[in-house]
């Protein structure tokens, strides 16, 4: 097992190098002045541009630039904004909101996704199953953006059940609605994944063996069907945490929660390119880390994988 974990960790290193290289190449190494590009239409004083050139080592040769960029990332340096403030300082200020929102969404999708999937899968073709299929199709088809507006309008503006924006009411009141929207898509996926796997495994040969062993229905489902069915679900759940982090850009933007996603959202509006790139890079790294956790988790849950 420890060899398996070690191998996964080693395999993650080229991925981190690759993704950061892609970011570096697309943002800093393309022809033209990267700082002007990051500023969009915004006017920057020549002194600011010069300062940022220095901060981003843009006067060095590309390989040196990349080396300095990587060593900066390794030391938690995610660049500077146009005022010269470190992006890492902004991140430190904002991350608790995002983690709170992300965890709330994650718990919601775990509990309700699995529950709906089980209810649907156990009575395939029944009322609940049809309902879940319909509901998940709708949720998958309506973009999160639209879902957010819809919820904000109906539950916030019309019915006044939830605050429309901001975190004035604290957790959980201010976080609940954004968390539901953030979780919706993956909740639907998890429900479907649980359902499909459960249905597939109920017909598996080893479940037939379990019945032939004279085991009762609870044991057949609980021990011999569920564990196998939930392996892909659990791994998706870990992966989903990474997706949720990137979903916060839209949800925190729309509901105005002052987290990392909102930082990116506002930086885009204010054309603060370096902040966008810096924070997004952090979120990408978090995502890669959750991928690693998924792989390790897979090994823990499925013996066939870890003895590969």
């Amino acid at each position: 097992m420890s060899r398996y974990v070690l191998r996964r960790i080693l395999q993650t290193i080229p991925v981190v190098l690759g993704t950061t290289f892609v970011i570096f190449a697309m943002v800093f190494a393309l022809p033209g002045d990267p700082i002007r590009a990051l500023a969009g239409d915004k006017f920057l004083a020549p002194s600011v541009i010069a300062q940022l050139h220095k901060e981003y080592h843009l006067d060095d040769s590309l390989p040196i630039q990349y080396a300095k960029y990587m060593s900066g990332l390794a030391h938690g340096d995610f660049g500077r904004d146009f005022n010269g403030d470190a992006v890492s300082a902004l991140i430190r200020e904002r991350w608790p909101v995002t983690v709170k929102l992300g965890l709330t969404a994650w718990v919601l999708e775990t509990v309700f996704g699995i529950l709906l999937g089980l209810l649907a899968g156990l009575r395939r073709g029944g009322v609940v199953d049809r309902g879940v299929l319909l509901l998940t199709t709708v949720v998958i088809s309506v973009p999160a953006l639209v879902l957010a507006f819809l919820a904000q309008f109906v539950l916030g503006v019309k019915l006044g059940i939830f605050p429309i924006a901001g975190v004035a009411d604290g957790w959980p009141v201010s976080y609940l609605l954004p968390a539901v929207i953030l979780a919706a898509l993956d909740l639907a996926f998890i429900a479907r994944l649980t359902r499909t796997n459960l249905i597939e495994n109920r017909r598996a040969d080893f479940v037939r063996t379990a019945i032939a062993k004279g085991l009762g229905p609870w044991r057949v489902v609980g021990k011999h069907t569920l564990r196998n069915s939930l392996i892909p679900v659990v791994t998706y759940l870990a992966l989903s945490f990474g997706y949720l982090m990137s979903g916060t850009v839209i949800v925190e933007g729309i509901f105005n929660l002052p987290g990392l996603g909102n930082l990116v959202f506002q930086a885009i509006q204010r054309q603060e390119g370096p902040v966008v790139v810096g924070v997004s890079t952090l979120l990408v790294l978090v995502f890669i880390l959750t991928n690693l956790v998924v792989d390790v988790l897979y090994g823990v849950l499925d013996p066939r994988i870890r003895y590969d």
Partner: protein, 331 residues
Amino acid sequence: MSLQPAPLLALDDLVVEFRGRRHNVAALNGVSYSVAAGETLAIVGESGCGKSVSAQAVMGILDIPPARIVAGQIRYRGTDILAWPERRRRTLRATKIAMIFQDALSSLNPVYTVGEQIAEMFRVHRGESHSAARRKAIEMMERVRIPDARRRVGDYPHQFSGGMRQRIMIAIALSLEPEVLIADEPTTALDVTVQAQIMALLHELKEESQLALILITHDLGVVAEVADRVAVMYAGQVVEDAPVRTLFSSPAHPYTQGLMASIPRLGQRGSRLPALRGAPPTLSAPPTGCPFHPRCAYGRPVCLDRLPPLRPVEEDHSSACHFAEEVMARD
């Protein structure tokens, strides 16, 4: 079947249908066979003839729906278990009737160690402690001759070879000392040498404990070696039932005759092996009358109209052919 001791397990006129969206398919069309303690009954026939379905009906592992038991009885020691409540049938299949399957890899749960899967029998049905059950699991593994059982008890199914996995299945099946073991093509997925080892093991274990063995197979070589009786199935029916010697020496059904003729024999060189003409019938649109008539060399007009019943043709030998006597005489 008159001189046999009372059968341990008997199927009586069992009819199983698969419900399709447009029409129902009769997978078993009145199947009867029985097995006594210490006896090995082989059930032979082409794939799709209903061999496995009859076994699944006994074990209560038919996919219901689409499958449905329409008529007939399955009697254990004389009482019809189809009438039993599910809980009682469950106990029966745990402790009295066990089954092993063709594909041992997919039949074992990939996420539990083989030890856990054997020990589960002792823990659930005997209420034994974790450690006692584990000890017994090791004992069972030793009994099915798995080398180094003590060390391998914590391994997962995928870490074993095909033959060893089938031994594990046998260990699970025999853990509570059942009276009947149904083996559904237990060696089909294995190499020839391993096949022989598994058959030898099954035979030994059977001799040790007076087990009644129902062996589902299409390998007539295996049948000749280990079976006491043979039931030949065709298109959802038993078409011939006889002690193994009788069956091989004087088959009383043209289908059996065809099967016998297609076995290669040593010293018989130069001639083409006769094969059965035609293909087995589709169960969704079975031929009228005798299902074998389109492939039969003895066919007469009556075969198109009337389904021949399984009837005794001599002592302890029955056949479902209108012209069984003629078939026996021809051989």
